[in-house]
Amino acid sequence: MSGKAACIRAENISMSFGKKEVLQSVSLNIAEGEIFGLLGPSGAGKTSLLKILTGQLRQTGGRAFLFGLDTEGLPRDAYENIGLVLDNTGLYERLSCYDNLLLFAEIYGTGREKIMEALRRTGLAEAKKRPVSRLSKGMRQRLALARAILHEPGLLILDEPTAGLDPSTAAEIHALIREERERGAAVLLTTHNMEEATKLCGHVALLHLGNIVEYGSPAEVCRRYNHLNAICLTLKDGESITVENTPLSAKVVADYLQSGQIESIHSTEPNLETVFMELTGRGFAS
């Protein structure tokens, strides 16, 4: 964990709806300038946790802090330092992109120049007069993100910001999220997309049935489950050869390289999805 101040701190959060426990003793820490990924399939408890962290839902156990303030009884002005993209974008369908942002610029008391800047950064400057009802799903998502970054908050909470988007739109959103991190904002995002989490996040938590089953940087998590610790050589004839990742294997690899037979070399480290499957016995899509 970095020595930076924590934007979000959750300590042993539990949540039940009747007899159903949706979160069980969840703890996490998100520092400023960090992108944190909350990963898990539908029903894992991601949205409930986000609601607790933003003070929309009261947990049944544990404590959560946002910028050091207890989320139970969070003062309203704390929201001025948060940018949100929730499961539902919550945009005014009949209003234009510009007017949607104008409303929030006036609420936050930010200058109008910030509206055009946010539209430009999200690639929506040319669509500023277009009503939301005529935007594609990707454009709506970008507009929701523009609204979230409009007032340059210290924390961005993004609930599946790229779900259902094409790869190029998703890549644009990733670039924007990285820019926000560079500015110093902490980013908490939930996603089903393991590749996205690996690319973007400094730390991830794998959530399964309300429990954090693994926590750390994506590389660390994958390394921990690299039981094979091997190198896989794919030859030009299609054959795959796996050798142990030890100094003794260096000569074998060198021989293949010299012979010019190698198509590709890669490690056998699992990806986050494989780790999750190993931990829970189920995939993310299930």
Partner: protein, 232 residues
Amino acid sequence: MRLRIIGAIWKKQWKDTLKNKAVFIQFIMLPALGVFMKHMVSVEGLPPNYFITMFAAMYVGMAPMVSMASILAEEKEKHTLRMLLMSNVKAGEYLFGVGAYVFLLCMAGAAVFAFAGGYTGAGLAQFLGAMAAGVAASLLIGAAIGTWSRNEMAANSLTVPLMLVCSFLPMLSMFNEKIASAARFVYSCQVQTMLKTAGAEGIDPFGAAVVAVNILCAIVIFRFVYRRSRLD
């Protein structure tokens, strides 16, 4: 209450109303119909402002209730209210902003009726005062329905029967004495009586008391619903 926030909500609401035919028509249909009937239809024996007072009473029972409930329920259904509340807008500021906006638009409609009816002086004051009291009662009922309902469909299922009762009761009570005897306890009927007597007689204390009690009941219902909704 922060004026900056209320101003932002008004501006948003005005732009939205212009593009929302279902709400926009609530504000202009009955005033336009009243003006049209006043100038185009002449029936011997009818009082000169017969259509003005009839449509104005219908307007009181219909426009504020339907538009307020529809605006609030739509904001809840589309999750735009959640975004506002999570942007440091207080629920009270939002409700006051939308309520004041709907009230002012309805009073603009009331002014159209008053102008078409040719009211002046004390008559004009009584006409607008009665309209304001009726609009306030309907507005509070609409706000309670909108706050209670999860979505527009749920809001409509409550608004439509209530709106029909409140807006058509004054007209139906003119044709049936039994209905009239029950309807005299409903604010819209008393508002119609006040409109009819504007400029000629003062306000009947019983009528004023009925409207006041109706407003009080609407406030109690709204407060109950607001607390249960936990918008804050």
